[in-house]
Amino acid sequence: MKPTKALANTISTLLAADTTILANASAMKLALITQPFTESLDRLAGDLTMASASPLAPVAATAGAQENGVDPVTGELKVEVKPPAGGFRWETGTGFSGPVTIYGYALTNNAGSSLIGMQALADPITLTGDNQSHTAPAIEFRIDPSKIN
């Protein structure tokens, strides 16, 4: 069946407010992925190599309901993960023992045990020394509701 646009658009609203995963009271975390990977619906947390120690430890998102909306150009539904104050940002500081290459980002639950989403960088970034920083772009899920039938 073809849902009306109003019904289809409830998807992003429901996801953004779902306390089981995206709106959980324990904030999700964004981790840096430090080994090559391919994005896949079937990917699990254990499949990825994530930086876990300071200064590249996962950064907590803002807990609670996330943002959602409709892209006015494409009509795609968006669920936007709310970054913490200062954004999803990492800085090597001093005494950094690199190099470390960032291949993408992993969104996990607070414990890091459950993978929620992943995003590969088209061009990996290598941190080589002290006082280098990296800020992730906006983290969002996009859904094309026109394909539901």
Binding site: M1, K2, P3, T4, A6, L7, T10, I11, L14, L15, D18, T20, I21, L22, E39, S40, L41, D42, R43, L44, E76, V81, Y105, L107, S114, L115, I116, G117, M118, Q119, I139, E140, F141, R142, I143, D144, P145, K147, I148, N149
Partner: protein, 150 residues
């Protein structure tokens, strides 16, 4: 960002169990009806915009019941949200004496305010030529192709 199957499955469950929509689909509030004239699936929003079939009756007493069910297609990982069937399944049948009568599809709508939730349009209208004819429907469902994830 690409979601995992855990979030994908959760999305389907949320859609199926939303009490404001599909999980409110029982015979008291949301029901189905056959459509007797051509229509545009992309623009209809209210039952008043459709020509509902008379004498071509859709049997759907169970519909989505208290909550639709959500599952994953094993062939392609598409998500499926589907209606529970009653004992007789879903079908359209003809009554009355004036024929032919055509059925172009069916609609799921809220009886309280006429709000349309979904429509199904047949590839070609089904033409009934006399009373007592029946056209079996495939189980009402929504297919969520995994390609919809960007």
């Amino acid at each position: 960002m690409k979601m995992t199957k855990a979030l994908w499955s959760r999305m389907l469950t949320l859609f199926a169990s939303d009490p404001a929509n599909l999980a409110n689909m029982d015979d008291d509030t949301v029901t189905m009806a056959s459509i007797a004239a051509d229509f545009n699936q992309l623009v209809v929003t209210n039952i008043s915009e459709l020509t509902i079939g008379t004498g071509v009756i859709l049997n759907a007493s169970a519909l989505f019941q208290a909550s639709a069910a959500a599952k994953i297609d094993p062939d392609n990982a598409d998500g499926i949200v589907y209606a529970a069937t009653d004992g007789e399944g879903f079908y359209v049948y003809s009554t009355g004496s004036t024929f032919p009568k055509s059925c172009y599809g069916y609609v799921v709508y809220d009886q309280n305010d006429g709000r349309i939730l979904a429509t199904e349009k047949f590839d070609a209208p089904v033409v009934f030529t006399e009373a007592g004819q029946i056209f079996l429907l495939k189980q009402p469902h929504f297919r969520f192709p995994r390609e919809m994830l960007k």
